[in-house]
């Protein structure tokens, strides 16, 4: 994933009136879902429309209908879809992006994993942030784990692996310096607890958070390297697979399945779907979020 540019949140008239949405945007929404698994809900169609508008301006295209032709007619359609996906996922990255995911993690999954794994000799949890971009998700996970370190995870070793294809993203992630926009969902309590001040606009992640994470460069399509990422309890891969074609996506997902320990969970982005690309994972619902589960040996569901 490339470094995320600062978003431009355009104010459009579409925001509150779904009736005003050109029906072509619903067609585009369905196409985007079919190709990438990203679903833009009706109330968020304006974000899709905004993304399209920016692309249309670039291409000097005047109507959504005309833009639809760009998205569907060869030879440039794949490239254009990629551009559009870039546009619609812009600005989604921030710390503590999905509270329902974090709630599921802390309230349901961790207690379950801890019970399952207590029988094992080493009390260790391995988490992988695959396609970590500039590190927001990785640090969020680390802070969430630290919150449990005196309770549920007392005496446990936490290892977070954070990988990305893009070297520059990995370097930015390692630095751990964030501004207001990335911190818009971070509570003041967490800011005080887990960050130090760089200047009036930037905060730096504290060393005790950083030390839980190992950042490195990894190509998810590098089969030989993927084979080494074993023994994960949780894998997060948000808005990364959307850029892969069907075959590569299936392959990466099979790797993820093998990389997970039994009883482990795989998370995608909040409005992202695996569709029907993998038959081994169990689709499971938690309040407000979904995940994919590799059944534990004791569950009898393998």
């Amino acid at each position: 994933m490339t470094t995320i540019p600062q978003p431009v949140i355009a104010q459009t008239a579409l925001r509150k009136s779904p009736d005003a949405v050109d029906p072509v945007y619903r067609q585009i929404r369905d196409l985007v879902y079919k190709v990438s698994g990203i679903y833009k809900a009706e109330e968020k169609l304006y974000l899709l429309a905004d993304g399209c508008a920016r692309r249309m301006k670039q291409l000097n295209v005047r109507t959504p209908r005309e833009y639809w032709d760009h998205l569907t007619a060869a030879p440039a359609r794949d490239a254009e879809l990629r551009e559009l996906l870039n546009e619609v996922t812009i600005g989604e990255t921030c710390l503590f992006r999905s509270q329902p995911q974090l709630d599921a993690l802390r309230k349901v999954i961790l207690p379950e994993l801890v019970t399952e794994k207590t029988k094992q000799i080493t009390k260790r949890l391995r988490i992988w942030s695959a396609g970590c971009s500039t590190g927001e998700e990785s640090y969020t996970l680390a802070m969430s784990m630290l919150e449990e370190s005196d309770r549920l995870l007392k005496g446990w070793t936490i290892e977070i692996l954070a990988t990305d294809l893009n070297d520059r993203s990995v370097e930015t992630a390692k630095a751990g310096v964030y501004g207001d926009y990335a911190l818009r969902n971070t509570s003041d309590l967490y800011k005080r607890k887990y960050f130090s001040t760089v200047d009036e606009k930037k905060l730096l992640v504290r060393p005790e958070v950083k030390k839980l994470i190992t950042f490195s460069r990894l190509n998810l399509q590098d089969d030989s390297k993927m084979l080494f990422m074993k023994g994960m309890d949780l894998i997060f891969c948000c808005n990364v697979l959307i850029y892969f074609d069907g075959i590569s996506k299936s392959k990466v997902i099979s790797h993820f399945y093998s990389n997970l320990s039994f009883g482990g969970y795989f998370f995608l982005g909040t409005s992202e779907s695996l569709m029907k690309l993998n038959e081994q994972f169990h689709l499971v619902h938690f309040p407000g979020t979904i995940a994919y589960w590799k059944p534990s040996l004791s569950s009898g569901k393998l």
Binding site: A104, P287, G288, I290, K301
Partner: protein, 304 residues
């Protein structure tokens, strides 16, 4: 459950004369709805509704919600029937009648939360059954709407015990029926069944009310019960639950109910459950709005 407990439930349900707030046209309307659609005459429905201006007005308002398929509220019940069909208008009327049952005093289960769950489940049941060939979509809606009426009985006739169950459920994050069984020894399924039998609801609806947490006990309507069971779970996972965080994961496809439904409807196999979930999310805001504007504004009058 012991015989004496069953007798206690029946006795208390008998003593609920009419649900407070439920309009007088509700039971006659229910009776009409238990007939097959060919036998019900439009005039009869219109005549019944004309006795209650509030219900008629609310029905038009609900019919004009995007959730029910019309862009504008229709001008009259007749016009609504022409656009939406008699069956759908009947289910809307039923929704409005039940929606009036807002209590004067506070329930252990917040009525707005209860109605959101019931309306949400009704809509999910309908949407779900639309994906399945040869399923009766309006019946599915009605089943979803009524599946939890036992909670109304609990709030009215077992209020103290039920309040304890509710408190335990929210504190421990466990399913409400589990908490009911642990604290009261019975659940909304039994109390709902007693009320449904008193109201002489159709057999399949009674089965839904009685067995939506234990499908294996359903004898005559397993696919419908399974459909409601799954829709209920999905609603609880997508912000249309009972107002507290349920600390468990739900695996709908591994649920026995899914297998039961699949046996009857092979088309279920092709369903994209994640997309279905995302589409449900789109309706959630609308459901909140509908409950707030229509049911929230209903006068909390006891008409016993």
């Amino acid at each position: 459950m012991t015989t004496s407990l069953t007798a206690t439930i029946r006795d208390r349900v008998q003593r609920i004369e009419t649900m407070p707030g439920i309009p007088a046209v509700f039971l006659p309307l229910l009776k009409l709805l238990s007939h097959s659609v060919e036998e019900v005459k439009l005039d009869e429905v219109v005549r019944l509704v004309s006795y209650d201006g509030t219900i008629a007005a609310q029905c038009l308002c609900v019919a004009g919600s995007p959730l029910f398929g019309l862009a504008q509220p229709p001008k009259s019940i007749k016009a609504a029937v022409i656009s939406l069909g008699l069956r759908r208008v009947e289910t809307i009327l039923l929704t409005c009648c039940l929606g009036q049952a807002f209590p004067a005093k506070k329930w252990a289960l917040d009525p707005a939360v209860f109605w959101r769950h019931s309306l949400g489940c009704a809509l999910v049941c309908r949407k779900f059954s639309e994906r399945l060939a040869a399923a009766d979509t309006e019946k599915a809606y009605m089943a979803g709407l009524l599946h939890d009426i036992g909670f109304m009985v609990n709030c009215l006739a077992f209020s103290q015990d039920f309040a304890l169950a509710m408190e335990r459920a929210s504190q421990e994050g466990i399913p409400l029926d589990e908490a009911e069984r642990a604290t009261m020894g019975f659940t909304h399924c039994e109390t709902g069944q007693a009320l449904a039998e008193k109201w002489k609801l159709a057999d399949d609806i009674v089965e839904v009310i009685a067995h939506h947490h234990a499908i294996e006990h359903s004898q005559k309507a397993q696919p419908l019960v399974a459909l409601v069971h799954l829709s209920d779970l999905l609603c609880r996972m997508r912000g249309l639950g009972y107002g507290y965080y349920e600390r468990h994961k739900v695996d709908l496809i591994a649920d026995p109910a899914w297998a039961i439904l699949l046996k009857q409807h092979r088309d279920l196999e092709a369903m994209d459950l994640v997309l279905f979930t995302f589409e449900l999310d789109e309706a959630v805001e609308e459901i909140h709005a509908l409950v707030a504007t229509v049911f929230g504004s209903a006068p909390a009058l006891a008409r016993t």
